[in-house]
């Protein structure tokens, strides 16, 4: 569905809104999938902890462990962000459709 029809769009004040709900839904799914891959990468980094214990030098071991933990925390945050955007895209897709369908009840 293209709300604007022919790309002209609806004007809300000076605001142009144009959306294809099906594309938004697909993009939401893609974002969600990418968020999942970030979680999976974070999980793989746990395996690198053995490199930390195998480093030998205590200072290096601590630096490696700390870096991995920072990365895992960071990837978790990023995954939340990307996943959240994915959920919002899917939500927006639904909201656009429902709003359009219910804006003017069919006579």
């Amino acid at each position: 569905m293209v709300w604007s029809g022919s790309g002209k769009g609806y004007l809300t004040g000076a605001m142009l809104i144009e959306a294809r709900p099906d594309e938004l839904s697909r993009a939401g799914g893609a974002q969600t999938e990418l968020a999942g891959r970030l979680v999976e990468i974070s999980g793989r980094l746990t395996g690198a902890m053995s490199g930390s214990s195998g480093a030998g030098d205590p200072g290096l071991a601590e630096a490696v462990a700390s870096a991995i933990q920072s990365w895992q925390a960071s990837l978790a945050m990023l995954s939340d962000s990307v996943g959240g955007i994915g959920a919002n895209l899917s939500g927006a897709s639904t909201a656009y459709s429902v709003t359009d369908e219910s804006a003017i009840p069919a006579g």
């Binding site: 959306a19 690198a48 195998g54 290096l60 870096a67």
Partner: protein, 849 residues
């Protein structure tokens, strides 16, 4: 290999293989991040038609995330490179150190050899010198009398040569020793170099990885590494700038920085609770709410305050923040306290909360009378949080403080009505572990908490709803998560109830039924242990009760209109289930156990019901025949449950199985009469047959056949006189069904399936009960006494036993019960102890065979 060392040379520790594996994980992660970054960057292109404010925000966020990831890709590759390089350098250093150790060991061997050679040469020199000396003396002696001894001269010459040779050997060994020592030193130097090389490599790699912490995607977005942002945030917070945490996820920072931040907030709360400082308590409450579920923040906050100051905070928030409001339940105050209470719950669940916190929070260094004035605030503050959010042990301690301890010392002013804590009981029910711990606990005098809670009985103003909820939560609600604690709590409830049941409010009684329902297997075990202690049946994971404890609880429940119907149904269902299950077993021992369990439970319940009825008769003018109700309802429930599983059960019921349990007869049987007992046994047998039918081991017609009027020998199902219609069953499995007479069928079932086990259990318990209630006196032993003794009945004093011989001396005796019999022991000073036994027969005590 870690730990290898020699002569001060150490092989650097570490596993290059593990480091290389980590490097390849980093490489793989970099590739994965690259893919995700590319994927993220592609998403906006797929939404090129999307226009509007949200689309702009979306593109902004996606670009930010993509760029952060892209930066992270390079950082991850750098990490992989650093790890690989370190692995190489570590491996080289380890190889060189091992080579140095090998060289050092060889040098050491040569040193040892050279030192041995030197010692040998020196010995040889010494020995040659002695020989030279001896030869010289001989030369001198011979020269005094003539020409020197030629032999001595030769020896002098030889010894001189040996000395010279030994000196040469020593010199040679010393040269070798020096070279070997040089080689050892060289090896040690190489070893030290290798160690140093490994140290330097570790330092470089460490710097690379420290940089990696600051190159995460989050760091790219948030503007720095956790350490950098932590230091910056802490600095700003200390200056009172609470915007420092805006947009910064707390968990991004190190745990220690999170706790430091929480401690700073706690410090500000210290001032704000008195209306001082830069922050208001309201603002801080809002701030705390953001982190109320965060373990590190909660621990940091309450560890900074400690229990005493947390307690002060609890009082001051109410006293200073909402003066003149609607009391401690004022919604505004509750909302203000809620974040602090929730945060406290989070802290109590953390293992890091300081150990002295709870004692200090409750102020246990003060006597209870001094703590009671603060209990209203304590309850209000704790209830501002979520019951399930508190650690169970902590909340149980609070419950003990609020509900139990004030009741322990009745002289402690002001006396607290337990009804004022009804709402707290409801609240605690939201935390089954806390409820279970409280119910299973003891007060400071060692009395069961349950007794304190039940003692209050009729004065509860909520009809016992709070107490009932807490009992149900701490027993039933805990069965799945902590069965051990649930059983301990249940045991306390079961053992305490009989003393207080009469005055318990109705809704508390409902919980007692639930306790029975959950623990009926434990009651059954108590009954079968009494009837068959020699069997040693396993208790399993059930409540551990004595017969009297179980029986008294049943008596209490059966004697109360509120609970007796449900009690009968629970027990009846259990009995029926056990009999039904028993009929499905081929294993004779297991079948017997189930039958004995069922019979014992049925009998214990019936006997308890009879006792309950007797008590009730005193208070109820219209004596309801409870025994009848128990018998009929228990057996109907059991029979109905079995029949419900049988196809065509309605027909069977119509044929009179429900009537089979003639309640009057059962009543008689269970009270005293042997004839009635036999009828009760008959009902068990019929239950067995119903089970057989349900399991498909007998045709359904069996039940009709048994109920046929006058059908003693055989039964003609369609009453046409045709032999073909007689019941036929292939019991011997020879492929040819045999015509079965009712008597055959009856005997067959009884013989094969040993339902006598249940009947025996009933008889055992009934006899034990009789023996208990009708103890044998010395007069009952008159016929059992040995011929050498006689009973001297004296109507005005105690009966005596005398020996028949001499002047008929009196003999001391004692009587004790042995299960269903009684044993009299004669303590004859000349003949020792002599025992005689009486047993019950036809309602009288007679000498045992």
């Amino acid at each position: 290999m870690a730990g290898e060392s020699f002569a001060g040379i150490k092989v650097p520790e570490g596993e290059p293989g593990a480091v290389r594996q980590a490097a390849s994980i980093f490489t793989g992660a970099a590739g994965g991040l690259q893919d995700v970054a590319s994927g993220l960057q592609a998403v906006p292109n797929a939404l090129s038609d999307w226009r509007g404010p949200a689309s702009a925000s979306f593109r902004g966020a996606t670009i930010t995330n993509g760029a952060a990831l892209q930066a992270g890709v390079e950082a991850m590759r750098d990490a992989a490179r650093a790890a690989r390089e370190y692995a190489e350098e570590l491996e080289t250093a380890q190889r060189e150190a091992r080579q140095a150790i090998k060289a050092a060991k060889e040098a050491q061997d040569r040193i040892d050899q050279a030192q041995t050679d030197i010692a040998a040469a020196q010995t040889a020199q010494s020995q040659a010198a002695m020989r030279l000396d001896a030869a010289n003396r001989r030369v001198a002696m011979s020269s005094m009398t003539g020409a020197p001894d030629a032999g001595a001269l030769a020896d002098v010459s030889a010894a001189g040569g040996e000395i010279a040779a030994a000196e040469g050997a020593e010199a040679n060994a010393r040269v070798r020793l020096e070279r070997a020592q040089d080689d050892l030193a060289e090896a040690q130097r190489r070893g030290n170099d290798a160690e140093e090389a490994a140290r330097q490599a570790a330092r470089r790699a460490g710097a690379a990885f420290s940089g990696l912490s600051g190159s995460t995607p989050a760091a790219a977005i948030l503007g720095g590494s956790p350490a950098l942002l932590g230091a910056r945030t802490i600095g700003r917070l200390r200056a009172g700038d609470y915007t420092a945490l805006r947009g910064l996820p707390l968990n991004y920072l190190s745990e220690s920085d999170q706790r430091t931040i929480a401690a700073i907030v706690a410090n500000d709360v210290r001032e704000a609770q008195y209306g001082e400082g830069d922050q208001s308590i309201g603002d801080l409450s809002d701030f705390v709410e953001r982190y109320q579920d965060d373990d590190e923040f909660a621990t940091g906050f309450y560890n900074e305050l400690g229990g005493s100051e947390a307690s002060q905070l609890m009082f001051n928030v109410g006293n200073f923040a909402e003066p003149g409001g609607g009391g401690w339940d004022d919604p505004g105050l509750v909302a203000l306290m809620a974040p602090f209470a929730t945060l406290l719950g989070t802290a109590t669940r953390s293992r890091e909360l300081r150990r002295d916190f709870t004692d200090d929070f409750l102020g246990t260094d003060l006597p209870i009378r001094d703590r009671i004035p603060g209990h209203e605030q304590l309850e209000s503050f704790i209830r501002a949080g979520d019951a399930a959010g508190y650690d169970g042990r902590f909340l149980a301690r609070v419950g003990q403080e609020l509900m139990i301890e004030p009741q322990v010392d009745v002289n402690a002013p002001p006396h607290i009505e337990l009804s004022e804590r009804q709402d707290f009981m409801e609240f605690m029910a939201g935390n089954p572990e806390a409820s279970g711990l409280l119910l299973a606990g003891l007060d400071s005098n060692g009395h069961a908490n349950v007794a304190t809670l039940m003692l209050y009985g009729p004065r509860y103003t909520d009809d016992g709803a709070g107490l009932g909820s807490m009992i149900e939560a701490g027993t039933h609600g805990l069965m799945d998560d902590d069965r051990g604690l649930a059983l301990r709590a249940s045991e306390h409830v079961i053992k305490t109830t009989p003393t207080f049941a009469e005055h318990l409010p109705a809704q508390a009684k409902d919980a007692l039924v639930v306790v029975l329902d959950d623990n009926v297997a434990g009651f059954e075990h108590a009954a079968v242990q009494e009837a068959w202690p020699e069997r040693g049946y396993a208790l399993g994971q059930n409540v551990d009760l004595t017969y009297d404890e179980a029986s008294e609880y049943l008596k209490a429940l059966l004697g109360d209109e509120r609970t007796h119907d449900d009690t009968v149904v629970i027990v009846g269902t259990r009995v029926g289930d056990q009999i039904f299950d028993a009929t499905g077993f081929d294993d004779g021992a297991r079948k017997s156990e189930l039958m004995e369990r069922a019979g014992s439970l049925q009998e214990m319940t019936t006997l308890a019901g009879i006792d309950a009825d007797l008590d009730q008769a005193e208070s109820e003018a219209a004596a309801n025949d409870l025994k009848k109700k128990i018998a009929s309802q228990a057996i109907d429930a059991a029979g109905g449950k079995i029949l419900g599983r049988i196809p065509g059960s309605g027909e069977i019921i119509g044929a009179g199985l429900d009537r089979a349990f003639a309640t009057d007869q059962v009543e008689q049987a269970l009270v005293a009469a042997r004839e009635g007992q036999q009828d009760a046994e008959e009902q068990v047998r019929r239950l067995v047959m119903a089970g057989e039918v349900a399991h498909g081991q007998l045709p359904g017609e069996v039940l009709r056949a048994l109920d046929a009027p006058g059908g003693v020998e055989s039964y003609d199902f369609n009453r046409d006189g045709d032999d073909d219609d007689f019941l036929q069953v292939d019991r011997d499995l020879d492929g040819r069904p045999e015509r079965i007479r009712e008597r055959d069928l009856h005997d067959l079932v009884i013989a094969e399936h040993n339902d006598n086990a249940a009947v025996s259990s009933m008889q055992q318990l009934e006899e034990l009960q009789y023996a208990r209630e009708n103890p044998a006196g010395v007069g009952d032993f008159e016929d059992a006494l040995p011929d050498e003794y006689h009973l001297d009945r004296d109507w005005f004093s105690d009966d005596e036993i005398h020996r028949n011989d001499g002047d008929e001396p009196e003999v001391e005796y004692s009587i004790e019960r042995d299960r269903a019999d009684y044993v009299l022991t004669l303590h004859d000073p000349e003949r020792g102890d002599i025992r005689v036994r009486v047993t019950r027969e036809n309602g009288e005590w007679v000498p045992a065979p």
